[in-house]
Symmetry: C2
Subunit: 233 residues, 2 copies
């Protein structure tokens, strides 16, 4: 069994309203049924106009206080609070639960690779819907059923360094139930069966993407889980 990952070269800088799915279909060709296309959150947010001009943010007292503690821009803190349903930790980092249910630092908001010094990117409003939309657009342009993962960079408790993980997927499961027995036919404990394969794929794609290579999409070929057309998105 072989797995191959390749970067999608030649994508232009993505701006709101562009046809990201169509561009990926064009630049990633040839795509094959069963391929998984990992796309960074950043370009999906740009396409969807999920950008915020910090100049327009009205800062609350709470955001001001947190900003003093972290020595960061209070408008950024307010933008984080606006995307969150609760603050999990506010000591060394601002760890929040987003309205989607993601537990992450700064609600996934950041300035990197966003043009304009006062503009930040927000996570897509509905990452699952974004993944499904990209999947359908690529199918309509290329005629090929691929799976889509929208990836983002997260830290992890008790581990050094960042990994890319999956915010959402379409055409494949986020978590796959693996073999129920080991090589000796002994049942595996329930806690040993479910693998976050979309996270593992997102992390693998990051190895190609890096942070400044203009490679916001990666095609993965050779996976052996049920083909996307067999799985409801």
């Amino acid at each position: 069994m072989r797995l191959e990952l390749r970067g999608v070269d030649g994508l232009p800088e993505i701006t709101p309203g562009m046809d990201l799915g169509g561009l990926i279909a064009k630049h990633a060709a040839p795509l094959h049924s069963g391929d998984v296309v990992v796309v960074t959150q950043k370009v999906v947010s740009k396409e969807e106009g999920r950008l915020r001009d910090l100049a327009t943010v009205v800062v609350t007292e709470r955001a001001s206080q947190l900003a003093v503690r972290y020595q960061v821009d209070p408008r950024m803190v307010q933008a984080v609070l606006d995307e969150s349903v609760r603050v999990i930790r506010d000591d060394r980092v601002l760890l929040v639960e987003t309205h989607h249910g993601f537990i992450c630092v700064n609600a996934g908001i950041d300035k990197s690779n966003v043009p304009g010094s006062d503009t930040v990117s927000l996570l897509p409003l509905n990452c699952n819907a974004s993944a499904l939309r990209l999947r359908e657009r690529i199918a309509s342009v290329s005629g090929v059923d691929v799976a889509i993962i929208i990836s983002d960079t997260f830290g992890s408790a008790w581990r050094h360094g960042l990994c890319d993980i999956a915010l959402a997927a379409a055409g494949m499961p986020l978590v796959l139930e693996r073999e129920h027995e080991d090589d000796f036919g002994v049942p595996l404990p329930a806690g040993m069966i479910n693998f976050a394969i979309a996270d593992e794929l997102a992390g693998a794609a990051e190895l190609i993407m890096g942070k400044a290579r203009r490679l916001p999409a990666v095609v993965v070929s050779g996976l052996s889980f049920p083909s996307p057309s067999d799985i409801s998105a």
Copy 2:
């Protein structure tokens, strides 16, 4: 840029004292300089005899009490405590810090893919040394400088599903410092630079390994970080 992963077929069941590095060199051929070989902790532990017969475990009062709470084998709980320097959580799971410094459930001890109903596998005593030893053995047999990652399956806080991560690496960094500026030349925050590339590689390899395919080693080709010979192990 392309990345290719392939499983190492044909490895026999590994037992204590076997020449794991030599077997990998043989079955993974041809290897190339710059390849990364991801090897599961399980086969390294088997090779090193890091197995424990639960029948020989002397159970303390503390282990007995915890075992009642979890409804598990008190000898298993004792084995976990014996490998740990502290217990982080003992409510729903037994989350410990191992003597290596890993924070994980059950100190990385488990029964899966270990022959004998009363035998469990322990983590290698010194995972870094094990990785270095495998790297040197493969170089000596095949004449090729590869990097080694020893992988294991961990859960992650705030995420569903398991991922394989890196317990240790030799010939490559566990964490890689990425680009310091984004595509627009804007400096990236310090917290956005360090990527756990060995974890991402271990996760990618898991996609091929699964849990019961007798594929405890995977070769990754095409990575672009500095070649292993340029990095001190």
